[in-house]
C-alpha cells in the first residue's frame, strides 16, 4: 500500500463522511416511514417520531388490510405486473428475433420506422384520444396492450440475439426446425440473462405506473395500488378511506380511534413499497447488467 499524503488523507476522510451521509439520507426516509406506520397515529401527531416508535401498534396495518379498495388495488397491481411483463417480453422478443435476421426483407425501412418513434411522439393529448378511440378506457387491457412493444427493448434483444452462435440455429434448421421453432426451442432458452434483465425493468415500470391509470381509468375497482395511493396522498382525509370499509371493519375501527390519515398513508406506502424491497436484493446483479447492456447499445 502506497503511503498517503496529507491532501489524500483529507480527501479519503471527506469521501467516507460523504458516503456515510448519503447512505444515511437514503435509508432514513424508509426507516422513518416504517416507524410512523407502526406508531399510533394520534401519538405521531404530537411530534418527535424519528428512529423508533413510541406507541407501537399494528392498528394502521389492520385498517389497510381491511380496506377492500386497497387490497383490490394490490391484486390489480400484481396481475398487471405479471400479465404486462410476460406479454411485453414475449411480443418484443419475437419482434426482435425477426429483426435480427440478416436476410429480412425491408429490414432497413422497418428499423427507420422504429427509430423515429424514439425521437418523435404525438404527445399526451393525441395519445389520450387514441386510447379512447380504441375503446381501451376503463378496461384492464389499457394496462397491458400499450406497453406490448418497446423499441428500446427490441434493440437490446436484437443485439443479444445477433451475438448468439449462428451454428446452433443452423443445426436446429437442419433438424427441421422452422424460424418459430428455433426461436422458442433454441433462442429463448439461451436468452436467460437478457430476458431476466428486461423483465425486471418492465415489471418495475408496471408496478410503479400510476399516471396512466389516473387518466384512462375512472372505475375504482380497476385502479392499481399506486394510483390509489396517489389519491390518498392528495386527499389526506381519513374519513374518505374509512368510508370504504364494511360495517364490521367500521365497528372495529371505532375501537381504534388513534388511526390518523398520516399513519394510514404511511402504512399504505409501506405495503406498496415492500414488494420492491423484497425482490430488490435478489435482482441487483441483473439490473447492473441491464444498465450496461442498455448503454453498450449506444
Amino acid at each position: 500500500m502506497v503511503r498517503l499524503g496529507t491532501g489524500d488523507r483529507i480527501m479519503i476522510v471527506f469521501i467516507y463522511t460523504f458516503l456515510i451521509l448519503l447512505g444515511f439520507s437514503t435509508f432514513y426516509p424508509f426507516w422513518n416511514g416504517l416507524v410512523i406506520s407502526f406508531n399510533q397515529g394520534t401519538d405521531t401527531s404530537m411530534g418527535g417520531i424519528t428512529f423508533w416508535p413510541r406507541e407501537f401498534t399494528f392498528e394502521n396495518y389492520a385498517v389497510v388490510f381491511k380496506d377492500e379498495r386497497l387490497m383490490r388495488g394490490f391484486v390489480i397491481s400484481v396481475l398487471r405486473t405479471i400479465a404486462g411483463t410476460i406479454g411485453a417480453i414475449l411480443c418484443t422478443a419475437i419482434f426482435a428475433y425477426g429483426m435480427s435476421k440478416a436476410d429480412l426483407i425491408g429490414k432497413k425501412y422497418y428499423m427507420i420506422m422504429c427509430i423515429i418513434t424514439m425521437y418523435f411522439g404525438g404527445g399526451l393529448i393525441p395519445t389520450f384520444f387514441l386510447i379512447r378511440g380504441l375503446g381501451l378506457v376503463n378496461t384492464f387491457w389499457v394496462y397491458i396492450i400499450p406497453g406490448l412493444i418497446s423499441v428500446w427493448n427490441m434493440i437490446i434483444f436484437r443485439t443479444f440475439f445477433r451475438g448468439l452462435p449462428a451454428g446452433l440455429e443452423e443445426s436446429a434448421k437442419m433438424d427441421g426446425c422452422g424460424n418459430w421453432g428455433t426461436f422458442f426451442r433454441i433462442v429463448i432458452p439461451l436468452s436467460g440473462p437478457v430476458i431476466a434483465t428486461l423483465s425486471l425493468f418492465t415489471a418495475i415500470a408496471h408496478w410503479n405506473d400510476w399516471f396512466a391509470p389516473s387518466i384512462y381509468v375512472s372505475n375504482e375497482n380497476l385502479l392499481p395500488i399506486q394510483t390509489i395511493l396517489r389519491q390518498i396522498l392528495d386527499s389526506n382525509i381519513v374519513s374518505e378511506q374509512t368510508a370504504n370499509l364494511d360495517s364490521f371493519a367500521q365497528s372495529k375501527l371505532n375501537a381504534m380511534k388513534s388511526v390518523t390519515s398520516r399513519s394510514l398513508t404511511m402504512a399504505t406506502m409501506m405495503v406498496a413499497t415492500i414488494p420492491i424491497i423484497c425482490v430488490y436484493p435478489f435482482v441487483q446483479k441483473y439490473f447492473v447488467k441491464g444498465v450496461l447492456v442498455g448503454s453498450l447499445k449506444e
Partner: protein, 318 residues
C-alpha cells in the same frame, strides 16, 4: 459456420427471384415483424397524425376530420397566455438545474466510490443508493411530504432541536423552497443508479496507468483528475448528449406530485404539467396538443444541435 450457410442452397439462388416471391419465402420471419410494426404504427404514428388537432378547434364529437381548422391560433393563444412566461421560465430553470446538478452528481459519486477500498462498505453504499430509482414517484413524493410535514416531520424536528427555527415550516407551500426540494429529491432518487454506468467505465481503465502515475509520485487526487476523468470522458459525453436532448423534459410526475399546493404553481408549472392541466383537466384539447407540439419541436432542435456538436468532437449518437 460460413460453410454451413453456403450449403444452405436457397440463399444465393433466392437473390434472383422477384421480391414478392422472396418475401413469401420468408413469410414466417415477416410474420414475426409485421404485427409488431402494425402495433407501432397504431400506437406511435397515429398519435403523431393526431397532432393536427393542434391546428384545429378539436371537437370530441366531430373528430379529426370535421373539426374546424384554426391555423396557428392555439400557438398564439399560448404565447399570449398569462402563464406563458412562468411556464417557460420554470421549464428552463428546472431543467437547467436538473442538468447542472443531476448530471455531474452520479459522476462524482462514482469517482468517490472508486476511492473506497473497503469492499463491504462500498457494496452497502451502492446497494442502498440504487434503491430509490426503483420506487415510483408516488412513493418518493410520499416520503418527501412525510419528512417535510409540519406534524412530526423529521426535517422540522431536526431544525427545531438545533434551535434554528421556532415553528415548524410548511416547506411544500413556500415557493422559494420548491426548486431546491425538487432538485434534491431528483438527485436523491437517481444519483446511485446513474453512477452504475460510470463505475463500469472506471472499472475498464487499465490499472497500469495508476501504477505508473503513483510511481511518478502523483497523489490520489491528481490521479482522479489526470487519469480517471479523461478515461471516462467518452461515456460522459454520450450521456451528456442524451441529457441535452432531454433538456425540455423538466419533469412531470415529480412536479405533479410534489406541487400539490396551488400557491406554488407560479414556480412549479412546467410545459408538461401545463399540457396536462389545460388539456385533460380543463378539456382544452387542441390547446394542450399545441403546447405539447411546441415542446417536441424545440426538443428535436435541441437534440440535433447537441448531436452536431458531439459529431464535431467525434462522439455522435447517429
Amino acid at each position: 459456420m460460413a460453410q454451413v450457410s453456403l450449403e444452405n442452397e436457397h440463399l444465393p439462388k433466392s437473390k434472383e427471384k422477384p421480391l414478392i416471391k422472396r418475401f413469401f419465402q420468408q413469410i414466417d420471419i415477416q410474420l414475426m415483424v409485421l404485427p409488431a410494426l402494425a402495433f407501432i404504427f397504431v400506437f406511435n404514428y397515429i398519435p403523431m397524425y393526431g397532432v393536427i388537432m393542434a391546428f384545429q378547434e378539436y371537437d370530441i364529437f366531430k373528430g379529426y376530420f370535421d373539426s374546424p381548422w384554426v391555423g396557428l391560433k392555439q400557438f398564439e393563444l399560448f404565447f399570449q397566455d398569462p402563464a406563458f412566461f412562468n411556464v417557460m421560465r420554470n421549464t428552463l430553470v428546472i431543467s437547467l438545474l436538473k442538468f447542472c446538478i443531476g448530471f455531474p452528481a452520479p459522476i462524482i459519486l462514482a469517482l468517490m466510490l472508486n476511492e473506497v477500498n473497503r469492499m463491504f462498505f462500498k457494496r452497502v453504499i451502492q446497494t442502498v443508493s440504487y434503491l430509490p430509482h426503483f420506487l415510483s414517484w408516488v412513493i418518493v413524493a410520499g416520503f418527501v411530504i412525510s419528512l417535510l410535514s409540519t406534524e412530526s416531520g423529521s426535517v422540522n424536528i431536526l431544525l427545531e432541536s438545533l434551535n434554528l427555527i421556532d415553528e415548524p415550516i410548511n416547506f411544500l407551500s413556500i415557493p422559494e423552497y420548491f426548486w431546491g426540494i425538487l432538485i434534491t429529491t431528483n438527485v436523491w432518487k437517481e444519483i446511485g443508479f446513474g453512477s452504475i454506468v460510470y463505475l463500469a467505465a472506471i472499472a475498464g481503465i487499465d490499472p497500469h496507468l495508476y501504477e505508473a502515475a503513483s510511481m511518478d509520485g502523483a497523489s490520489r487526487f491528481r490521479q482522479i483528475y489526470l487519469i480517471t476523468l479523461p478515461c471516462i470522458m467518452p461515456v460522459v459525453s454520450i450521456f451528456m448528449i442524451l441529457a441535452i436532448g432531454n433538456l425540455l423534459n423538466a419533469g412531470f410526475e415529480d412536479i405533479l406530485l410534489l406541487a400539490k399546493n396551488p400557491i406554488i404553481r407560479p414556480v412549479s408549472d412546467v410545459i408538461d404539467t401545463f399540457v396536462y392541466r389545460v388539456g385533460l383537466q380543463d378539456y382544452r384539447y387542441s390547446y394542450g396538443a399545441a403546447v405539447g407540439l411546441f415542446k417536441s419541436i424545440i426538443g428535436v432542435i435541441l437534440l440535433t444541435i447537441a448531436n452536431t456538436v458531439a459529431r464535431r468532437s467525434g462522439n455522435s449518437l447517429w
